[in-house]
């Protein structure tokens, strides 16, 4: 990596922060049963926040050797910038050890191609009429942060991820069942192939149509749909909305806002989690912290700026890329398991739905608790099992209400959805619109 700070910056800025990032990756893609591409990438960049006369300027470049130019641009922006009402990171070392798997930087394209082929075969052996999709890949990278207030931290990162899908697109039936996983180290091929078999078995169930009338139903939200249900909480604990007082939770710390069984942690050190790290995007040492504990709101997620504005302590939750300013965000979101066996929850959902995928929820009014969207993949549940796919239906629920007073059960079993480890959640009385 090139020098972190130039004379121009150290002499002309009252305070500064430099952020370097570089990485390389390799990914192999199968679509519609065929190998479509081997993609190899390198990325690098440099971002600088400079302070002059109490105001912050920001600039970045994808060329790491443009330190001088970026410093100059950041300084040029300072008259227009936000007030520097916090302090860049001070010297601190994380007591934890970073996870780094060098194998992620030595991926063999041909081995990945062969694994994609095995995924296709695994799907076809169970669901011969499905087409297979598969994407496998990973990479390594390094970030380095230096502040004029004395922090200097370097972190090596590794990543690996897979996505497999069994799908069909035919008259009156577009269907894709999938499994996916990403982590900070290599994932065994056996797990990828198991994911392919599970996607294919789910595909067989989803091929059968099931009728549904509009009405109120018990709904078993699968982990990927639970992720949608948690979006209003994620937005409402975000320091941006706390600092601006647009969150309904501004005065909520210590209050019991949710069901007693709801416990959610933010864990940057989870050994399987893809979004961990010892330092956040501003060089602050990260922490494992409860967000909700036994239904009680315990903390928010803050960057340095939002923590200062809200009058809270920094939480080590600044997320960023080279091209963006640090913004509050969670690391790995870990929802505690419940006490119910998944099979028992299916029994209790009798006559209701299991929702595996929703689309369009991102447009919901999360600050109002709203989660609305089309049920992209949902099942009618009868006799303790999914008997067929329901279509042409939508839901619009208030997640704050659902997670406070309408939870019937939470499963012991959990699955990773991106950087979230989530159980299945059975909810009472969900209004489903259908045609």
């Amino acid at each position: 990596m090139p020098p972190l700070a130039t004379e121009k910056l150290t002499r002309n800025a009252d305070a500064y922060e430099t952020f370097h990032s570089e990485g390389r990756s390799l990914r192999v893609m199968f679509e519609n049963d065929r190998l479509t591409e081997i993609r190899q990438g390198e990325n690098s960049g440099l971002a600088i926040r400079a302070v002059k006369h109490g105001k912050i300027g920001f600039s970045y470049s994808s060329k790491q050797d443009e330190v001088e130019a970026v410093a100059e641009a950041a300084l040029r922006m300072t008259p227009f910038g936000k007030s520097y009402d916090f302090q860049f990171a001070s010297p601190a070392k994380s007591p934890h050890v970073s996870v780094f798997d060098e194998r992620c930087g030595k991926l063999d394209a041909e081995k990945l191609v062969l694994l994609c082929g095995a995924v296709k075969d695994a799907i076809k052996s169970i669901a011969p009429d499905a087409t297979a999709e598969c994407s496998l890949g990973g990479g390594i990278g390094r970030t380095r942060i230096l502040t004029s207030t004395g922090q200097e931290c370097v972190e090596n990162e590794s990543s690996y991820g897979w996505f497999v899908s069994a799908k069909i697109s035919e008259e009156g039936n577009f269907l894709s069942t999938y499994r996916m996983r990403s982590g900070n180290r290599m994932i065994p091929d056996a797990e990828v192939l198991q994911g392919a078999r599970e996607a294919a078995q789910e595909y067989l169930v989803a091929r059968k149509p099931a009728p549904l009338k509009p009405g109120s139903y018990p709904v078993l939200f699968a982990p990927s749909a639970v992720s949608d249900l948690l979006l209003p909480i994620a937005v409402s604990i975000n320091g941006l909305n706390i600092a601006k007082k647009t969150s309904p939770f501004v005065e909520g710390l210590g209050q019991k806002l949710f069901d007693q069984r709801l416990t959610i942690l933010d864990d940057p050190f989870h050994e399987e989690g893809p979004s961990g790290g010892l330092y956040d995007g501003e060089g602050i040492v990260t922490q494992k912290r409860p967000i909700v504990e036994n239904g009680v709101l315990k903390s928010f997620v803050h960057s340095l700026s939002t923590a200062k504005q809200a009058g809270h302590a920094p939480t080590g939750n600044a997320a960023r890329s080279v091209s963006s300013l640090p913004m509050p965000g969670t690391h790995n979101v870990i929802m505690s398991p419940g006490t119910d066996d998944l099979d028992a929850l299916y029994q209790r959902a009798n006559g209701g739905l299991c929702i595996a995928q929703l689309i369009g929820t991102f447009t919901s009014n999360f600050l109002a608790g709203q989660v609305s969207g089309n049920v992209s993949l949902g099942y009618l549940v009868q006799d303790g099992r999914r008997v067929g796919r329901v279509k042409n239906c939508a839901l619009n629920v208030n997640a704050f209400d659902v997670l406070k007073s309408r939870i019937l059960g939470i499963s012991k079993q959990r699955e990773w959805v991106g950087s979230e480890l989530l159980p299945w959640v059975l909810v009472d009385g969900v209004q489903i619109s259908a045609r």
Partner: protein, 457 residues
């Protein structure tokens, strides 16, 4: 540069080779509440090489120009590795090589507007919203991006084009009694800064709409006849039919080719849909796509019948059809794939908005859109504002209106198209395959759709 890139492309040893360099300068301004949250000027430089060997692709990106020759070799190595295992090889549809330079033709180049003047303008709009009684927060975001794209391929095509993209969006937020109402307004285009001036009225309306939305009841869920305004109808045609028309959905899947067989009837005779790169000034305007193919107006549905689709050279080659200039990449980090430009529903024979609603006993008038999503068959999007229609008239405002449905049924269920075609560009964009936000446009007149499922209480 021309000689270097052309030489590398021609001497790569692959069956086909293309190189792309991208040099962008971006200015961003963002207000959050009363604060000027972010002002930045930044530089993005990078490139990629894409090669085909025996019909299989290798794709490599880089940030440093001095790395370009070894990256070509890596791409060829990867493509050869792919070709050893692939059973099905692509053939690129032929495209006439071009050698062109495209320079900016902006009414007011945003670089000629001082940063402080931009900030003052947007601060005024932000203040317009914040000072409105009942508005509790706001945000305004603006960007302009000037890019030089340099492209060469082994067939002799050379395109050196400059482009402007710019957009601005504002959101007013009103929180009353625990209920949050919001409303947006926006503008965008490729013809310079002038279009961002004189927007006070739109920001005032957004503020008023946010306050009224916070007071409105949640809609009763159910199945309704819905009249969409041109903006929402544009989002609908983009999400519900535009994505379906992209060639990579069809080229490799015989069952999809059956579903989307040219000549099939998809709607009433008055339904006409096209995608065009020719509308100068719009964000979807594009003279050459990212494979150096000239763009065009591509008819998708004419008189209710499917007549075309959107192709890259690869998807056109796989289907033995003609490239349409729709191969687009959001940046050098991605290969070009079939994407939309400006996707439109044409004017229909059913008069005005009032003519559309006059026979509706109970329905919904849905305006603006916070965005939408489709899985190919099902779609969903959330209206920015909505009103009930009762006995042929616009009645009370409702909130949290999410429309969903089946693409094919919904196209057949378009029972009215007015004659008031309109395009409203915004700062948003289209997402696909991890490439987001790609600048696109969409236009439509008011349309009436029966049997739309609306999620609600």
């Amino acid at each position: 540069m021309k000689d270097l890139l052309t030489s590398l492309a021609k001497k790569s040893g692959a069956d086909y080779c293309e190189l792309r360099l991208e040099d962008s300068w971006q200015t961003s301004v963002a207000f959050s509440g009363k604060d000027l949250e972010n002002v930045q000027e930044s530089h993005l430089f990078g490139g990629n090489v894409r090669v085909a060997v025996d019909g299989c692709w290798g794709f490599v990106t880089f940030n440093n120009l001095q790395d370009i020759a070894p990256r070509v070799k890596e791409a060829v190595t990867n493509a050869r590795a792919a070709s050893r295992h692939a059973k099905d090889h692509s053939i690129l549809a032929p495209a006439q090589p071009v050698q062109v330079e495209v320079r900016l033709d902006a009414k007011l180049d945003p670089r000629r507007v001082a940063l402080k003047d931009k900030i003052e303008l947007f601060a005024g709009y932000n203040e317009k919203m914040l000072s409105h009684p009942g508005v509790t927060s706001s945000n305004v975001r603006y960007f302009d991006k000037i890019t030089r794209l340099t492209y060469a391929n082994s067939e002799g095509t050379w395109v050196d084009r400059d482009e402007i993209d710019s957009g601005m969006g504002g959101t007013a937020i009103s929180r009353q009694g625990g209920i949050t109402g919001r409303a947006t307004c926006g503008q965008g285009g490729r013809d310079g800064f002038e279009r961002f001036r004189n927007m006070d009225l739109q920001f005032e309306e957004a503020a008023q709409n946010a306050v009224e939305t916070a007071k409105a009841p949640v809609i009763q869920g159910g199945t309704y006849t819905v009249v969409c305004d041109p903006h929402l109808a544009g989002v609908f045609v983009h999400e519900a039919f535009g994505h379906l028309s992209e060639g990579d959905n069809v080229a490799d899947d015989p069952r999809m080719q059956e579903v989307l067989k040219l000549g099939r009837k998809f709607g009433e005779n008055y339904l006409n849909i096209w995608d065009t790169g020719l509308d100068a000034g719009l964000r979807g305007f594009l003279q050459y796509d990212d494979e150096g193919v000239p763009t065009e107006k591509t008819w998708l549905i004419k008189d209710g019948v499917l007549v075309g689709r959107l192709h890259s050279r690869e998807t056109a080659g796989r289907m033995n059809e003609k490239p349409t200039g729709n191969a687009r990449a959001i940046s050098y980090r991605f290969p070009p794939i079939p994407r939309m430009r400006n996707t439109c529903i044409g004017n229909g024979p059913h008069g005005s908005f009032n003519d559309l609603i006059k026979d509706i006993k109970l329905g919904v008038y849905a305006l603006d859109a916070y965005g939408g999503q489709t899985n190919g068959e099902l779609f969903t999007f959330t209206a920015g504002q909505a009103f009930m229609i009762r006995d042929g008239k616009v009645a009370e405002r409702v909130r949290d209106v999410t429309l969903g449905g089946n693409v094919f049924d919904t196209l057949r269920n378009i029972t009215g198209i007015a004659g008031d075609y309109h395009v409203q560009d915004t700062a948003g964009g289209c997402g696909k395959g991890g490439q987001m936000p790609l600048p696109v446009s969409h236009g439509s007149p008011h349309i009436k759709i029966k049997d739309v499922v609306i999620g609600g209480q």
